[in-house]
Amino acid sequence: MNPGNSAAPPDAGSPPPADGIALAYEPAAGVGECAIRIPLGGSHRASPLNESQKRRLVSAVLEVRGEPDTRLVLLGVDVDGLRPAGRAALRDRIAFLPADGGLLSSLNAWENIVLPIGFHSPRRLRDVEAEVSGVLASLGADPRELLGKLPERMSLYEKKLTGYVRITLEKPDLMLVEDPQGGLESAERAAAAKFPAAYLQICPGGTFVQLQVAREP
């Protein structure tokens, strides 16, 4: 895994080129937030200063819209000049996994996993079962045990795993994962540590970003 924020302070003059950048979130000087710059490809960690900055960052990425005082680059594109169609196309290449897995409580693990595929590419539904089993097996999980469970009967790791499989199947170019190992026991943490490698195996050119708030001094 590549280290840290790879953060560099934004230039005072013209903005640096966006080429080769997967994610750049650069607040103007004086906003009180740190800049985040992640290169394209591989696994990285982004460390916002606090929960508030993390929320702003996630919201900006998911809406593909930087705040007025912030420069946002996604997958090599400065989003400032983008038209709505361009924003939507860029958004389709990005996935986000919240810390709790972001599951729907009325659906079991399988239904949660295939929900976005059922919406965005329903033709893939016929072939997706083998793909799901493959991803779960690569992470050492038993599909028969997990897929029928409702979220209320899952551990936190199982929720994260289900959410992770769900977004991996969409093969995003940029995957943002909120605190993948947070709240887990040591064995589960070890299993969650395999998420980036499993993702990069499926999407070799993709960028995996772990979002983890920097620890308070």
Binding site: D100, V114, F119
Partner: protein, 258 residues
């Protein structure tokens, strides 16, 4: 007043979205959600509606016979006017509000508060497509089906009771019913019940997706808003229908002459 206007506008926008996005019903997750809604609202409510329908039909016919000293023709006419056209759709609507209206508002409000609606957006799924469209269509179809059950059971029960209490045979009453009932009665009741069902689901979905806060206390408040406003809307729609059909606009389409 501004709040009422905002809610009305919100429901109208939601209705527009549902009409525009009906094709999403072909997507597997939405189709599955529609099936669940129809099962919950239509199929699992059947026992309750059968009992209510039988009670209502029997009650109305007993009352009419006693008060109006009705003969066979009048008893059947009253059954057609009251049960077929008015009480059938209303009883079904009340049952749907009691069961599905509260369930829909509560479920959606909880999903909103627990962040599940936001999760759908994160998956690039419009919550209205997945949560509102199948519920509105499912509840509308189920209300029409339940109305049909009420009509059959209440009219059947009423005719059976009449045959026991007035000087008319069962065959005579059934014959009278088929002579007086017209297809337009069923069309009228079906259109009305479809509209009732859609209105109930729209209002309840709107309040579920816009609870008055993000704490758990907002859930019962949303449920109360959904139930009271959908009940009012159903009664208002009923009045509008009665005016349109029995009043000036389509006078003569459905007549009510003794």
């Amino acid at each position: 007043m501004i709040g009422v206007y905002r809610e009305f506008e919100g429901c109208m926008r939601l209705a527009g979205h549902v009409l525009r996005r009906l094709p999403v019903l072909a997507l597997p997750p939405v189709a599955e959600s529609l099936t669940r809604q129809i099962y919950f609202t239509g199929a699992s409510a059947t026992a309750g509606i059968v009992l209510r329908g039988a009670f209502i039909g029997t009650f109305i016919i007993a009352y009419v016979i006693d008060v109006l000293e009705a003969d066979a023709a009048l008893a059947v006419k009253i059954l057609i006017w009251v049960v077929l056209r008015e009480i059938g759709p209303l009883i079904a609507a009340v049952l749907v509000i009691q069961r599905s209206g509260t369930a829909i508002t509560t479920e959606l409000a909880l999903m909103h508060i627990s962040g599940e609606v936001a999760s759908l957006r994160q998956m690039r799924i419009d919550p209205r497509d997945y949560l509102v469209v199948p519920r509105v269509v499912g509840v509308a179809l189920s209300t029409a089906a339940l109305t049909f059950y009420v009509q059959v059971i209440a009219v059947g029960g009423g005719i059976l009771l009449s045959s026991l209490t007035i000087e008319a045979s069962l065959g005579e009453l059934v014959g009278e019913f088929f002579a007086l009932a017209k297809p337009v009665d069923f069309v009228y009741a079906t259109i009305k019940s479809l509209l009732f069902g859609a209105a109930i689901a729209l209002v309840c979905c709107y309040h579920g997706l816009h609870p008055p806060g993000m704490s758990i206390n907002a859930v019962p408040k949303a449920a109360i808003n959904g139930v009271t406003q959908s009940t009012l809307l159903v009664l208002l729609l009923n009045v509008i229908f009665a005016y349109l059909v029995f009043g000036q606009a389509f006078f003569g389409l459905v007549t009510a002459k003794l």
